[in-house]
């Protein structure tokens, strides 16, 4: 399966990074350069209660799910 291969590639890459002494990697965006990233408008999920409900709405009405986080069970969609 292709997902198996993806898992294997990521595991191998992180192993390679770990054994190569990566603890010396310098952050290329310095802490004092992160003002914009710290702005609330840059939060990837600023309202979890809102986004989890909307995700549930889509999962009950489309054939696809996942890739975005987890949602609760049940349906109420017949």
């Amino acid at each position: 399966m292709r997902i198996d291969k993806v898992f294997a590639v990521i595991a191998t890459l992180t192993l390679a990074v770990a054994v190569s002494g990566c603890s010396n990697v310098e952050p290329w965006v310095k802490p004092y350069e992160r003002d914009n990233l710290a702005d609330p408008i840059m939060a990837l999920d600023s309202d979890p209660v809102y986004s989890s409900y909307l995700q549930h709405v889509y999962e009950a009405r489309e054939g696809a799910k996942g890739g975005e986080g987890a949602a609760g069970g049940g349906c109420g969609c017949n």
Binding site: M1, R2, I3, D4, V6, F7, A8, I10, A11, T14, L15, V17, A18, V19, C22, S23, V25, E26, P27, W28, V29, P31, E33, R34, N36, L37, D39, P40, I41, M42, L44, D47, P48, V49, Y50, Y53, L54, V57, Y58, A60, R61, E62, G63, A64, K65, G66, G67, E68, G69, A70, G72, G73, G74, C75, G76, C77, N78
Partner: protein, 381 residues
Amino acid sequence: MMPGRTIPLLVLLFGNLLALDALASVLPDDRSDVLYHRYEGGGVVIDGPSVLVRKKATKNLSVVGNYYVDYVSSASIDVVTTASPYDEERTQWSLGADYLRGNTTLRVNYVSSEESDYDASTAAFSVSQDMFGQLTTLTLSYAYGDDVVGRSDDETFERTLKRQQYGIGLTQILTKNLITSLNIQTTTEEGYLNNPYRSVRFLDPNVDRGFSFEGELYPNTRTSNAVGIRARYFLPWRAAIEGEYRYFIDTWDIESNTVSLSYIQPWRNFTFKLKARYHDQTAAHFYSDLFPRSEATNFRGRDKELSPLQSYAFTLKGTYEFIDQNKGWGMFKKASVTAAIDMLRFEYEDFRDLRVAAPVGEEPLYTMDSNVIQVFVSFWY
């Protein structure tokens, strides 16, 4: 995918991460949300409250709880063509905890959902590691779900469904204005995957209308894979733009592409968000709107969710911060009220509207317009 092959890879990946080093990480903010949600479309109205509370118990431990209710009133096209309208209630609660140690966050979460004819419980575990001066966060997750499916018209009917979900998430800061994320998720399901109330339609020359219904029959297993990428960019005039794409494929031959584009604009104490979303999917291999005869195939289904379809959504969301985060008020650091409407349109390529009298197989294709309204108040403390 075979879980037996995946777990050693996850262990190897997590082991690798422990060899890496980074700066200190933080727990999620303490906050509470009180939300009202309402879905209306296709003859269905679902509304109810949701309350979420998150609080640090110690400097390393944050606990979170959520209580959520759906009040369902359904006269959907499936119901009016093959069954009777109904009212129902679904109650869901969850408890979770985040434990921070160094740059590693461990999360556990338990969700329980109850309806008169469907009980679901899910236990989830994940571990996140911040690396490279907090530019990179890698998350590994696992969830196990156990559902019991019943029928409201048959107390003896009881089937089980087990679900396992494996995930890898990578959040990466690329520049001082750009943050990206990658999520890969594999889900395996085994058990009763049918909707016990739904039927398939087949040609029947022995009845006047030319077709009859019989029960659906789904495969007992399903494995699905989803890959999602997302990027958010900070614009020079203090606004943000976000793009998102997800590819999905499963062993039922459903393949889908989902894209969305968002724009976030703050103005004084307000923040506005506009979002457009498009979803396109192929059908499950055992789906048909009209089978040629009774029991024509080994597996059969007519769930419109498994049919080929496109959906379009447009979101308007506005937030007003009534306790300014720079001033605070008493125990509250910040508070806001948010109203959002999501306007959805579903266009089905092979699901016909049987409410319209027409020759068999020539009924008009069904479309559905829905609105999702959410209003909530949030407090940070």
